[in-house]
Symmetry: C2
Subunit: 753 residues, 2 copies
Amino acid sequence: MRTAEPAAAAAPSLVGPDRLAEFFAPRSIAVVGASDASGWARFVLASAAATGFAGPLIPVHPRHRSVFGRPAVRSLRDLAEPVDLAFIMVPTGAVDEVLDDAAAAGVRGAIVLASGYREVGGRGRARERAMADRARAHQITVLGPNCLGFINAHARAGPFALTVPLPLLAGPVGIALQSGALASVVLAFARSRAIGVSTLATLGNEAMITATDVVEYLIADERTKVICLFLEEIGDARAFAAAARKADLAGKPIVALKAGSSQAGSEAALAHTGSVAGDDAVVDAALRQLNVIRVSSLEELLCTSAVLGYGRPPRGRRMGVLTSSGGACDIIADRAAGEGIELPEFAPQTVAAISAHLPSFARARNPLDATGYFLANQRTSPLTTVDHALDAAVDDPGLDFVLFSGVTLPEARPADERAAALVEDRVAWLGQRIASAPIPVMSVTSTCVDVTGYSRDLLGRHGIHLLGGIDLGVQAIANAIRWAEGRGRVTSGRRWPAAVRDVSEPPRSLAGPGGVWREADARRLLADFGIPAVPAELARSGDGAVAAARRLGYPVVLRVASAQIPHKSDIGGVALDLRTASQVRIAFRRVRAAGARALADAGDAIRAPGIDGVMVSRMRTGGIELLAGVSVDPTFGPVLAVGLGGIWVEAMRDVSLRVLPVDADEVTRMLAELRGAALLRGARGTAPVDLDALARVIARLGEAALSLGGSLRSLEVNPLWADRDQIEALDILIVTAPPDRRAAAPSQNGPRT
Amino acid sequence: MRTAEPAAAAAPSLVGPDRLAEFFAPRSIAVVGASDASGWARFVLASAAATGFAGPLIPVHPRHRSVFGRPAVRSLRDLAEPVDLAFIMVPTGAVDEVLDDAAAAGVRGAIVLASGYREVGGRGRARERAMADRARAHQITVLGPNCLGFINAHARAGPFALTVPLPLLAGPVGIALQSGALASVVLAFARSRAIGVSTLATLGNEAMITATDVVEYLIADERTKVICLFLEEIGDARAFAAAARKADLAGKPIVALKAGSSQAGSEAALAHTGSVAGDDAVVDAALRQLNVIRVSSLEELLCTSAVLGYGRPPRGRRMGVLTSSGGACDIIADRAAGEGIELPEFAPQTVAAISAHLPSFARARNPLDATGYFLANQRTSPLTTVDHALDAAVDDPGLDFVLFSGVTLPEARPADERAAALVEDRVAWLGQRIASAPIPVMSVTSTCVDVTGYSRDLLGRHGIHLLGGIDLGVQAIANAIRWAEGRGRVTSGRRWPAAVRDVSEPPRSLAGPGGVWREADARRLLADFGIPAVPAELARSGDGAVAAARRLGYPVVLRVASAQIPHKSDIGGVALDLRTASQVRIAFRRVRAAGARALADAGDAIRAPGIDGVMVSRMRTGGIELLAGVSVDPTFGPVLAVGLGGIWVEAMRDVSLRVLPVDADEVTRMLAELRGAALLRGARGTAPVDLDALARVIARLGEAALSLGGSLRSLEVNPLWADRDQIEALDILIVTAPPDRRAAAPSQNGPRT
């Protein structure tokens, strides 16, 4: 359910896996609003035929006696017996009445095609809510509105208002799309690559059935081995995360093309769905945390699903490559290196076995160019050099899987029976060898061309799936490896969004405008969580500053203390490297004056207590400065960002993100992801930072942020200073919601409006 | 020509464009070594049929009377009249004799299929040279050895020993491949996307005809509009650069898939061709400088060629997008943003014109989702919403081109004549509108599926080419834009490799082992080229150092001066920030002792003058440190590298490269490419660096390096210090070949052995 309203509490039974199993396998369908003039109705009839739908398919229209030659009824109320599903393609204004008719007729499922709902904003949103409430009251499960229906290839049901490219191949890939028009495109590509589909659902506006509901259904669906999503938005992050965790436990990979990676893309999504996109980098991090494989093209979406749906995922990154082309070897090796896939040397026994079949001038190395030398003389055996190489390589103990680029078939069955037998015996042998092989074998074509007719049927008969070209194929394999590597780490997702603890209390009086905390309060919160901060004291006079400096030890730093001035160095409110009492005294006057000037310049815009004094702290030199901060994403809640400070974050955007909560191990991985990670390991001759200590401190920072519950806006330590095992927050900025606005905290993740 | 030997001087006429135009359009062909058992021979006969070869095709075999039903002759000497071309598929040992026969028979062209030449190293290399010399002596042009022939679709000649996927479409794409086995793959993908080919040549070992020769031929070939290369190595960089420049002037784009981007890939190439790969980053830079579009997959290679072969390149980056799917809009917008392609708003008149055809709930924005609403009611006009949008958008003054994702055709001609007429009238209208449009229109399918049968023929009749899917399509368009933007900048390529001037003389006595210069000599060379270095003096005693420091002004830096110690800070030979005479005196002793210790540790391994003294220089603080260096690539000669110093180069590999020579404008572009470029513009609050001044200094550094001619090994300034308009070399390291080895300088680019 998208909405978290109390009214929705009774609804789950309408969209749970069992109910959706029923919904997606109707045995009888009514097409309401069907007429001979409607392209949609024509498509629904055609897709029923394409899927081999055997049940009644009844047009419903108030005026037509027959539609496309089928007898029509005037209303659902006129049905002799209830249908399982009503495909409602009437104009928007008539939908509610049809739902009433459906209820009266005992129909339990409906697809609503009409547009003019949430995607047009304003009144459309209210109309959509009313429609969903009505359906809920009628106990009718609704797909849509603004959708094009679905196809269930195994159940042979296809209430689908677009072209179904033929033949429709039933298979392991379950698909849910937040764009109806892409459904035909996805089916066409799947057809071209002989990728079989279980259920494909177009989601439309998700007034009732959400993407997450379909994911839960597909997890439960035995026919589905892999789940394939096109997403424009992730509505309820908590529900999605729970489903992703369930999928991970069940061993069903989720592959997602999430649009909106660019500003333009997210505006495009906004324009036609009315959805609000968060920061795409957060989406990226969140999906990785949930072990959802994010892809960037439709081809990659389907090919990755095919690797996972048709084969076993590799156990590791050591690949054997078998081809009949030196050029293909080069391209595969380059592509593999880009994905971090290794090409180890073959074991001696593999070299020996392969060499026995190679011409003298060729070498049995990985990647293998088996050459076209077998063409020199007539073939007497069905197997070619590359096949013998496969036979040996699958037993190589140093390989985790084999990329086999040796399947090239004639376009039609050879007229010559002997030639046809050679081809077919070979494919049968390959099918058996691949099935019996101790490691996965991925068959990859050289380029992404269609797999059709003779070769599709022959390969299908022998259980061989061909990946779509070297480029897509290696990418898809790498995605599958990443999925296998990520399994079992999806532990915290179910707690997203996480900021619901409200353990810590924001201070009674927030000094700054917009909820900025006083630094002293911020330091206290960090101390509560065991996060070390640089020794510091608040001084209210030059003498006080000198006394503080003496206690802290020189050199010191002075910073004007005012919650109204979050960025102190910008206004000259910071003095560094002060080594004597007189330097401290002069600096005190200077930074306090700078602060006063800044407040005066801001004028009446700010009504607040003003300057608290000047913070005196020990000057830290050497070591490395980092940034660690938590902000709140509208979809995923509190998100931790970690980076090296300064130029790394500003110019290089070298930041690692995670949705909270995270533990110290996860923070260690975040640090390792930074492009500048070498610095932490002592790249520039400095001593290496104690990464475990650093990770523990940053993890505690996440805990501190979460403790603020729904009032959290942001918590940032910048710089966070690290020198060997000494880690200290040098400057801290905490912002919480003003007390009167805490109820509206975005991290509560209410209905997205 | 690969070899630069004097013997080769007479050869150009054998491989020049005119001679190759004759070679690639034979009217009669003999297949030497053909037998019924040979798969190669069978393929050559089939490809003759596939290309529609009309001339005599004569098997030659010492024992067989007939081959595949054709009467055979025993030897080329037995031919009644000479053939234009001999396809020689005899074993390696028999090739030379066949060449003698060919010469006797007056044959002017030969393809050699046999392996066992350069690619097996050692004796194979000698065998190859002897074969080529023999052919040259006979005035026979040879393609190969170790190749599979060629196809010329326009001349209807196909002496090609692999499958030709049918139908073979003649078209604008000329292809040369350094991997024979990829030829069928490339043809299959071209066929699948209806991409027409002019000449496709497999190059093999390039004993005589090189990739560059074929490029020159394709530039001259009227039927070829774009040149498509698969390269494992670039043999003679100077010749290749000259050809690339010619192609740029002629407006014929070169698109290249150059293998070896990874270590594994370059090893794979090495293994099966025996070629030696240089640094791939240099290849990348060189190809960009030559405006050769480098791609990373076979699909990208062909699709980029298709954009350029079938359409006009866009004049700019402002794209209008027209689709019937919101999901496609999202994906296109994301992909475009990744390529730096803009999606501006439509002009008001475009919005008005499109809106007139849209349903009320849809908005006329860019990217446009024209929706599937036209399906609601029977079509009476051939044009759909998206077609009307195209009609308006091509006149939008704010667009440079249109991506049109609206062509979806039935798989076969509709049986209903009215429906068929609607489809065909629509395609005819689209063809005309695209042809008459003031800006280019790129038609893109949603995914990369085959274009076949009915739609291929219909679209082809109306001059519409469909790009292969959003992902590949947008990538190919972006490549075409980059090509158009890069035109006319290919000015210096013909002078590669550039280090042939020998203007400056290396100092008589090089102090360091391996050709390391004394710093004083290095400073003198830089001074000759007007490159400022930090003020410095060589001191031989503590007193001398103090005196120097007084003259130079405090603070100073001391560095041990010894050409035997190129990396001084590693051994403790540097003292920074010295502010008093006594500090200088102590530091002098320390760094000199460190130097002496280092030399002692190195022991007898080094026989050299030892320590010259201690270099005293002004200490520079603030500003920014860069690195600028020239090294010598085995293929491209001297290469300039520019980066920000320290961590940027070490950990981030943030370096910009160019093959020399470059001017200051090019250096400005190099600086702009750096990821850390923001630092130079004053990102961290420091004053911006005078980029023009910096670029001028670095360009002069390139000149200084080139002045050393063939003796140059490397010249590095690290750090190169920049503070506003003050640019200074702080440390300089020059290495030239020891005098006795200068003749073997790699930059001479002799034969690659």
